[in-house]
Symmetry: C2
Amino acid sequence: MELVSSSKAFGGQQRVYRHDSSACACPMNFAVFLPPQAEVGPVPVLWYLSGLTCTHQNAMDKGEYRAAAAANGVAIICPDTSPRGEGVPDEPENWQFGSGAGFYLDATQAPYATNYRMESYIRDELPALVARELPLDMSRQGIFGHSMGGHGAITLALKNPGRYASVSAFAPITQPSTAGWSRPAFEKYLGPDEAAWRAYDATLLIADGHRVPDLLVDQGTADGFLQEGLRPQLLELACTTAGIPLTLTMREGYDHSYNFVSTFMAQHIAWHAERLIPA
Amino acid sequence: MELVSSSKAFGGQQRVYRHDSSACACPMNFAVFLPPQAEVGPVPVLWYLSGLTCTHQNAMDKGEYRAAAAANGVAIICPDTSPRGEGVPDEPENWQFGSGAGFYLDATQAPYATNYRMESYIRDELPALVARELPLDMSRQGIFGHSMGGHGAITLALKNPGRYASVSAFAPITQPSTAGWSRPAFEKYLGPDEAAWRAYDATLLIADGHRVPDLLVDQGTADGFLQEGLRPQLLELACTTAGIPLTLTMREGYDHSYNFVSTFMAQHIAWHAERLIPA
């Protein structure tokens, strides 16, 4: 992997790397913040998955995660949200599909199945790469994300028990298989048989018996996507039914932007640190 | 003034406004963060001046000032760095002059003198506007900035005793009248007579008897502009000679980016709050 940039921040290093992804069959960028503790030994890893239209850069610029990551001694990795580039099929005018909208799944349908394999990329390829190249303790991983990335974080945690010691989300898409902004994408990536969609839907994964130890979710009440696209009540019902301890907090007056995410970033990182770092 | 956007953050409101500036003879944008304390009464104001190439948006996105501003109950205003627009003379290929490079001075030379009046804008027009429209206590103002904006903050504080109770800077341009990246701009804005430049040079203003009560400066040692463009030792010499208490800290390994600024943002806001808010 190639170092694109490195800049000291909060005693650590905010870096961007580029590498050729075999999962996505294209070059991919990711951001990683190494806290100062990484200079003396491997540190826990917190995966941050971004939302629709984002790249590796949005949370790096606006997420305000470095102060809390440095204070808690955890690395933060921000992958891209989709494959990109000239050879990658896309719908440039559609912000809910293609570039910036990988939905953290492995597409099965032509022409998308060659590149749109974000689940394999986030779950297998990128962890193996950073485990070889960076001072990370891969036995201590957590995952969180925003909106589409909240969906990605929760579904990956549900499907890979033991992999992630902690999971949280900001304004996650809770039931993409029934939401208007994700159904067309799921159909193009996964085909018309909705049975295949269940593996990428947090509420249905829970209904099908998948579990996480506990879950932290924050959601703004002034979020324009709340009622149609996000619907935290569906996740709450699923967790209650399954007996998953969910800490869901509705945040009065907050919208869907990074002004919301950054406000609660330190609390989420503290939640993960409690679960990743022995007292 | 017209509200462009408003978004809740850290209990307060991050807003962007647009207004027709008479000083700059064009529409101007500025960002303002109102802390939660502004809901119950007027709050102190901290002016943040940005560096070359920036708009009102850079510090808003990357400065990470909201947590500390909310904790201390101060508003943060981020003006633009120059006039802009079709009728404004500019050198689009030159990042050190024209748009994004107003240098916080009032130009005297044609064709720039009509629009490039950032000193009058920051000192007179914008404070009068926000005093009328926002819950701000204008008897408690501080000023700080980054790079070209550090130059702006220090020179404005030196020239307006009593106006700003506190002043600080991140990696300021300390002696623009002798630095390669500012001399051509000063000549175009102010003319070839360098005597006119002294009013916009922190070290020369101090030599000419202007004073501030004290001054906080942070500077990264890995800043690529350190030796040629910034030169904190010149400010240190001027302050020592004049007896101005300067707290200058060289920050090992930090560069010129917002990774540096954001790392020390909370410490600067705390410095201002100590001087703006009675114990």
